[in-house]
């Protein structure tokens, strides 16, 4: 592997787009929570699109692994990957159970966590020999 950052399957346009989308949904949900609004169509659509982006990211990573590349810390990497794709569904289910401002707060909280997990995903791919 010549340059870790350039070869990383989880450090490209899709990862950046996922982070930005997640933060946008978080801000939208925060505004809704502050305005005493339950989760709206925008939040649920945002969660669905985010999930698709994260699944695509996971597929990219698995394709890279299939192509012979290996994450720096495999255990942590796969752990973060599985956690990551579970986050939007978790937010979706809890937000459906809680049709109040607190449902929006849950969407906001989960969408703030997702970008952190994407960054950890990138770090555990790049660290070699861990």
């Amino acid at each position: 592997m010549t340059s870790a950052a350039a070869d990383s399957p989880v450090d490209g346009l899709l990862a950046t787009a996922s982070i930005v989308l997640s933060l946008l949904v978080a801000v939208w949900a925060l505004v809704a929570a502050v305005r005493h609004r339950p989760p709206d169509r925008v939040q649920f659509t945002g969660l669905a699109v985010l999930e698709l982006a994260l699944l695509a990211l996971g597929v990219l990573a698995l394709v890279a692994v299939g192509g012979g590349e290996r994450p720096g810390e495999p255990g942590a990497f796969y752990g973060y990957l599985v956690t990551l794709v579970c986050l939007p569904p978790l937010a979706w289910v809890l937000a459906r159970m809680e049709p109040t401002r607190w449902g929006s707060a849950i969407v906001c909280a989960v969408c703030l966590v997702a970008p952190v997990v994407v960054v950890r995903l990138q770090q555990t791919w790049e660290v070699l020999g861990g």
Partner: protein
């Protein structure tokens, strides 16, 4: 759609549901971390890793306690939040005073600074929420 104020004072509705969500996130984070550490490098820092596992267990039980609501659920949640608060403060102090005691990071090291100090805030919020909902008829 206008928010309706819940008449019941259950621990698993309204803000409580957000609290449960955050507890779930920490349960996942702590469990995976502890599991991985114990599975791959237990000999390096057994105390720290066992502590991570204990913290993970407490987050899971606290989330279940809050979600189950009712009398037993409240007691379980109360016990978990108390242990958590004592744990995060004790480990926080110890990890600052004597770094050799915890050679590897745990969820509670440095008062949970690696997790945005949320491990320190969470039990306080949990206890506050239990206190706010204390007139629960259940």
């Amino acid at each position: 759609m206008v928010e309706t104020q819940p008449a019941r004072r259950a621990t698993n509705a309204g803000p409580g549901r957000l609290l449960i969500a955050v507890y779930l996130l920490f349960a996942i984070a702590a469990t995976s971390r502890a599991g991985l550490q114990i599975a791959t490098k237990f000999d390096e820092a057994p105390v720290a890793y066992l502590l991570s596992a204990l913290a993970a267990l407490i987050y899971i039980v606290a989330a279940v306690g809050l979600a189950r609501a009712g009398h037993t659920g409240r007691r379980v949640a109360l016990a978990c939040c108390s242990v958590e608060l004592v744990g995060v403060v004790a480990v926080g102090i110890l990890s600052v005073v004597d770094k050799d005691l915890f050679p590897d990071e745990t969820v509670w090291s440095q008062f949970g600074s690696g997790y945005g100090y949320i491990p320190l805030v969470l039990p306080v919020l949990g206890l506050f929420w239990l206190w706010r909902t204390r007139r629960d008829p259940a």
